[in-house]
């Protein structure tokens, strides 16, 4: 083997491996994004139609379905190398996932806004993932989601300042619109960049 051939092998193998690493995460964003949107729409109708209050626990379907989908997708995946990037991303989502569960507990116990905290945490996770994988779209969409999370406290202040009577006369649609805003932010934060990443990896 001559020296030029050696260099060619080294550069080709390194480039191939880094392409492979880059193209793996779009489908996970799609799974979590669509699951969150579907459960949110379901919960919106539960609230608007005054269905069984126990159905509030259906929010837990998000981590259950998301977790199962993640495991199945990982199992189905063609053999890929385990990289430092994979390990970093797994650690980021483990930390932000657990933090989101804490945000849910805080919302139940202290009455803080679950939507604001979860969108903020997930947005942070998305920005960091985008920075690690060098996916500009993901970083931008995560940043936009973090900004959009401010809608919740702003809406809270506006609604709080409305007179009680005016508030009573509003429809359920306005009262429960937080859920729809939450779903729309997930569309921007996970579904759109997920499709972009998935399309790019399919093209590769």
């Amino acid at each position: 083997m001559d020296r030029e051939k050696s260099l060619e092998i080294i550069s080709q193998m390194i480039a191939d491996t880094s392409n492979q690493i880059e193209s793996n995460s779009g489908k996970y964003f799609l799974a979590w994004g669509y699951t969150t949107i579907a459960v949110s729409i379901f919960e919106y109708f539960v609230m608007c139609l005054n269905l069984n209050p126990m159905l509030i626990w259906a929010w837990w379907l998000i981590p259950v379905i998301g977790g199962v989908a993640t495991t199945l997708l990982a199992h189905k995946e063609a053999p890929t190398p385990k990289s430092y990037v994979d390990r970093s991303i797994s650690a980021v989502w483990a930390v932000f996932g657990v933090s989101s569960l804490y945000a849910f507990v805080a919302a139940v116990v202290y009455g803080t806004s679950m939507f604001f905290l979860i969108v903020l945490l997930m947005g942070m996770g998305t920005v960091i993932t985008g920075a690690i994988c060098r996916h500009r779209n993901l970083t931008i969409c995560g940043g936009v989601a973090m900004l959009l999370s401010l809608i919740f406290p702003i809406k809270h202040i506006v609604v709080k300042n409305l007179e009680t009577e005016a508030l009573h006369s509003t429809t359920n649609w306005l009262i429960y619109s937080d859920i729809i805003i939450f779903a729309l932010i997930f569309l921007v934060m996970m579904v759109i960049p997920g499709h972009i990443m998935h399309k790019r990896s399919s093209n590769n």
Binding site: M1, I10, I14, S18, P79, P81, S83, D86
Partner: protein, 94 residues
């Protein structure tokens, strides 16, 4: 004086394997086979040579019911690769 090229790395398949492993934490046998285009038999032999030299670590296990062979580069392997690239640079700049 030019450094000699490490004969263990100066082979097409072994160099390809080490070049893949240098950029990842671990890679399984099937992945290495796909990327290098080698046959299972040849790849096994070359992985065994790299492992015996202490350049890589091989872990055998199962994922579900399927057997899985995971390869990781060691510090010795990393140093040998770095030295190989340095030596190669010397020849190219000649």
């Amino acid at each position: 004086m030019l450094k000699p090229l490490d004969p263990l790395l100066h082979s097409e398949l072994r160099l390809a394997v080490i070049s893949i492993l240098i950029g990842v934490e671990a890679a399984d046998f099937v992945y290495l086979k796909e990327r290098t285009g080698a046959t299972s038999g040849n790849l096994s032999v070359q992985i065994d040579k790299l492992s015996k030299a202490g350049y890589i670590e091989v872990e055998k296990g199962f994922v579900g019911r399927k057997p899985r062979t995971l390869c990781k580069i060691t510090e010795i392997g990393r140093a040998a690769f770095k030295e190989y690239v340095e030596a190669l640079k010397g020849y190219i700049n000649m």
